[in-house]
């Protein structure tokens, strides 16, 4: 059982600017929270403040309803897995895992049970007598996780634990972490750079930018309804296509529709989108238009998904084609900005050829040019 509340948490290093500013987050029991954001945005700092390794400059940290700003790291009863594993090189794997328990003066027999149990879960029983330098990266990682779980901490903190592993091992460890989380049911906070890790592991993702939280939500919501241009661009790979466009409301004489123009072609917005824009007072103005690569369809794609609502056809010239195994990426320019579309692998369009593309109108995103906030939300 553990809940965590961060209220207006701030961090300043020696009179510097804020490394973390007004961080607010409620974490309930058994959640798997992911911190993502560009390098230097304060993810590690926040994690270290929760762990007690870094002093909190402002705000409150509540662990299980107890104000914990001033508790020593060991009193907070949480475990942290570091990027470089932080195994004690002078101890065997067994002693590494037992160390925290020995320090707490737990009886030998109980320690042995716990270590064996953790070793079983992580499948490292055969490595217990080895020293850390005789382990591979993935094995070290497991041992580090093992040392973390033997203590039954309230909370697991992990700072990019998989970033030293190769892609295959990483995928494997990802699955195991997910399994582990289900098995242990401990609340976890996990820092990563990796999109896939964030999307697959997290129950909720915290997107940070320059020390501030941009959005906190489940991976699906975050992906489909980003609150601003930064989140829209940061989540998803390849990232969303953006283009500054002009918005016209009701100027279309025939059907009074709201539309925007891309290369002088009108893209008529859906009724609900138009209404939202109207409510927010966007009339005849410039906005940023955004669409994800997979929401751009070709003729065949459109026919395969007849239920969706599409924009009018737009003629584009393909400038590059990338085959990524199960899918094909097509690149083209609109108003001088490069767009990327993810299309079905049967598509044979070559560079230089012309192609008709359609936008899924339910999946277009519009942002204010100044504030970069999402308008159609």
């Amino acid at each position: 059982m553990s809940t965590l509340t961060l209220r207006n948490i701030c961090k300043r290093y020696q009179n510097d600017n804020y490394a973390v500013k007004d961080f607010n987050l409620e974490i309930s029991d058994q959640e798997f929270i992911i911190f993502v954001g560009p390098s230097g945005c304060g993810k590690s700092t926040t994690l270290r403040m929760i762990a007690g390794l870094e002093e909190i400059s402002g705000g409150e940290l509540w662990i299980d309803g107890e104000l914990s700003n001033y508790l020593e790291p060991k009193e907070r009863n949480l475990s942290m897995v570091f990027q470089n594993y932080a195994l004690y090189p002078n101890m065997t794997v067994y002693d590494n895992m037992a160390f925290a328990l020995k320090v707490r003066k737990m009886p030998k027999k109980q320690i042995d049970e716990k270590v064996q149990e953790a070793a079983r879960i992580l499948e490292i029983e055969h490595l217990l007598e080895r020293y850390p330098k005789a382990l591979s990266g993935g094995q070290k990682q497991r041992v580090a996780i093992g040392s973390a779980i033997v203590r039954n901490p309230k909370l697991f903190l992990m700072d990019e634990p998989l970033s030293n592993l190769d892609a295959k091992l990483r995928a494997q460890m990802r699955v195991e972490l997910s399994k582990l989380h289900k098995e242990l049911g401990t609340t976890m906070i996990y820092v990563t750079h990796d999109q896939t890790e964030a999307m697959t592991l997290g129950t909720r993702i915290v997107v940070m930018k320059a020390g501030e939280v941009s959005q906190v939500d489940s991976p699906q919501v975050l992906y489909q309804h980003p609150v601003n241009k930064f989140v829209a661009g940061f989540i998803g790979s390849p990232s969303m296509n953006f283009l500054d466009v002009s918005l016209y409301r009701g100027y279309d004489v025939e059907n009074q529709k709201t539309y925007l123009t891309i290369e002088d072609h009108p893209v008529y917005l859906l009724e609900k989108t138009a209404r939202l824009l109207k409510e927010k007072g966007y009339h005849r103005s410039k906005v940023t238009f955004g669409i994800r690569p997979e929401d751009i369809y070709t003729e065949e794609g459109k026919e395969a998904n007849p239920k969706l609502e599409y924009s009018e056809a737009m003629q584009v010239t393909i400038i590059a084609r990338e085959l990524l195994g199960a899918e094909v990426m097509l690149y083209f320019d609109l108003e001088g900005i490069q767009f990327c579309a993810r299309v079905e692998p049967e598509n044979q369009t070559r560079a230089g050829e012309k192609l008709k593309v359609y936008f899924d109108l339910n999946r277009i995103h519009l942002f204010d040019m100044e504030t970069e906030q999402t308008l159609n939300l």
Partner: protein, 304 residues
């Protein structure tokens, strides 16, 4: 395809007997080469060892000579009538054993003290964050630039005003820490990932426990080197003990030796016998320490 078959065939053509013969020949060749190399290395080592040990061995040989034998015109490398008379005289003239004991006590306590204080100070400089850390470290380093001779008189006045003259503590206390040791340990600790310390903190391990359980075992080699270096330095102290000790009861061995000199200026053999006596503990410490040193250096690298 053809070519591959052909070469494979060529290898297969050799019968078992031929193969065995080939193995023998090649093996003998490799062995001979190896033997020559080891022999050469051994010879070179012996030559160098003899050159280095020559003065020492000569000292032992002189210590065994009656003094009449030394003052002749011909070169006496080995004693013609070996005698233990010199050793006996040396021990009788001055209480050498007492001096050796004093030196042992003083150097031993200094060594242990320096290892404790230096590792703790270095830990603070390497792992803790506090105001003025860098300034304090600079100050510590700056003390290394002041020659000991410059402060010896004021130190003398200080300890004499405390009434410490001619005691053990006056020999020990001023040397209980050293900037050099702090610097050495700090450099070692800086190469440690800080997350090791943070991890230990989360594990509920306090600073002292961290030093004892993690840092010390991992810096065995540094501690070994530091211990040997400090012990020998302390053993060889001369100016300070000469200044602050008066009675024979507190004198250290280096001063004891010079007392042999003043008792009978002519007796070089006597003095050398004294030197040989006091050099034995010094060398044995080095040998023991060296073993420890090597063990320390390899304990991290070798499994088990």
């Amino acid at each position: 395809m053809e070519a591959i078959h052909n070469t494979a065939g060529a290898v297969n053509l050799k019968s078992q007997a031929e193969l065995d013969a080939l193995h023998r020949v090649m093996n003998a060749k490799a062995k001979r080469k190896k033997n020559i190399r080891t022999g050469g290395l051994l010879a070179a080592n012996i030559v160098v060892a003899i050159i280095i040990l020559l003065p020492l061995l000569y000292a032992v040989s002189v210590a065994l000579m009656p003094s009449s034998e030394l003052f002749t015109m011909d070169l006496n490398v080995l004693p013609k009538q070996p005698t233990l008379e010199n050793f006996k005289n040396a021990l009788e003239n001055v209480p050498l054993l007492k001096f050796v004991l004093n030196s042992f006590v003083v150097a031993g306590i200094i060594t242990i003290g320096q290892i404790i204080t230096c590792s703790m100070a270095a830990f603070a400089f390497a792992f803790l964050d506090f105001k003025g850390k860098n300034v304090i470290f600079m100050l510590v380093m700056a003390t290394m630039m002041i020659p000991g001779e410059a402060t010896i008189i004021s130190n003398y006045l200080t300890v004499s005003s405390w009434g410490w003259l001619d005691t053990y503590q006056v020999l020990i206390v001023p040397y209980l820490t050293s900037a050099m040791g702090i610097f050495l340990f700090r450099q070692f600790y800086m190469s440690f990932p800080i997350s090791l310390y943070e991890s230990a903190k989360l594990d509920g391990c306090g600073n002292i426990k961290f030093i004892l359980k993690i840092l010390m075992p991992l810096t065995k080699s540094a501690i070994g080197a530091m211990a040997v270096y400090t012990f020998i330095n302390a053993w060889n102290m001369y100016m300070w003990p000469l200044l602050v000790t008066g009675s024979e009861a507190k004198r250290t061995v280096q001063i004891g030796i010079s007392m042999l000199n003043s008792v009978d200026a002519q007796s070089i053999t006597l003095m050398i016998a004294g030197v040989v006596i006091i050099i034995v503990p010094s060398i044995s410490i080095f040998i023991v320490g060296q073993k420890q040193l090597i063990k320390g250096m390899f304990s991290g690298a070798v499994k088990g």
